[in-house]
Each structure stands twice: as structure tokens, then as C-alpha cells.
Amino acid sequence: MSYRVTEENNISTVYLDGEIDMDVTERAKEVIMPLIEAKKEVHLNLKDVQYMDSSGISVLIESHQKATELGTKVTLKEISKSVLKVIMMAKLEQILNLD
């Protein structure tokens, strides 16, 4: 997994790239969580994520819950087909903010 972060109008966009599994979830959380804790609105751009397993989905849930707790928001952007399928399999499409 690789990533880059851009900032614009207090929105941090995290572009994730590659495959997100148990091996990289800690690294993903280290990137995303401090942005949420800084109460920024966070966009996770998932267009270049080719694979995500239950560990990756857990990161999405944790991010969403932390943001809600702190009064901010995480939005999933340009979700790749394979990631959307896993989100739907987990029945989270109505829970997470999908755009």
C-alpha cells in the first residue's frame, strides 16, 4: 500500500493505493487517525485500491466512528468496484459516507 495526502479548505484527502490487508492496516490508521483527531474533514480516495479485506473494512469503520465521535466526517470517494463490493458484502453502504 502507498498513499499521499492533500489539503484543501480544511479537507484532507488521503489517496490510498494498492492492496489493503491486515499487513498494512496499522500504517493506514497511522495516516488517517491523526487527521480525524485534528478534527479535519477527511476524504478517503479509494479509486486505486484494488483489494480490501475485513481488516481494511475495519479501518473504514473505525475512522467513521472516530470522526462521528469528534464531530467531523470521513467520506469515501471514487470507490473502486472491488472495494465497493466488499463494503456491500459487509452491508455498510448505508452506514459509511459513500460519494
Partner: protein, 144 residues
Amino acid sequence: MRQSQIINLDEKRDFEVNSSNLKHVRSFCREVFEKLNIKQDLKDELVLAIAEAAQNIVKHAYNNEETEDKMEIKISVSNGQLEIGFFDKGRPVEKDKIRHRKIDDIKPGGLGTFFIQQIMDAVVFKEGEKPWINHLILSKNLNN
């Protein structure tokens, strides 16, 4: 081409039990499923189910602790019936304790087993024959 024209195969590979090898598990599965005449969506689902089961071995049978042990994954197809065997030497699986979280209980974790059950037709835990401790069998009829 009808799915019943799927070839028969029998392939197995060993993997060191750690999270950095999960990508190699996926590569192996993708390589094997390339030989089958099944839809890409189904191949992707099967790769997910296998990777989740392998992840459970790393996480639960070995508590994500360092080990020199290897696990073995065996993929067989016979007459359109897919069977995936997982063999490990970790802590014995306590079958009664295996359950996925309730799907309307939104919290991180517990989804892997749910995915496996969604994708596969059957999930069977057996005691492994020596030298193995655990033997998990996932199966699916590819003719459906």
C-alpha cells in the same frame, strides 16, 4: 462456455504464518483460479474467502505471534466442486467460539468469518492429521 467445463485440478503451497505473507496467499490463489473457467467476480470472492481464512490462522491460531511454522493451503477442483484445505500447527481451534459478529452490530472486527460464510457453501473445521493441528475445509459448488 458452461461452468461445468471447469478443469479438475489439485494444487498446494506452503506459506510462512505471518501477515506479510497474505499477499503471497492471494497471488497463489489468483494464479490457480486463472486456470478455471469461472467469472472474475467469483474468482475475486474466492480469493477474499481464502485470504480471510489465512488471516484467521495468523490472528487466532498464532495470536499474530512470530513463528517459523508454515501453513499449507490446498486448492482442489473435481467435477466442478471446489475444495480448499487449510492446514496449520497453531492453537487448536475452539469450534464453539467461532462466530461472526452480528452484521447489524457495526464495529471493527469479526467480519472475516462472515465474508467466508457469505462466499462459500460450507465451512468445516476438523482436527488435523499429524503433523497438523487444525484442518479447515471451505467448499463451493462451481456448477451453480
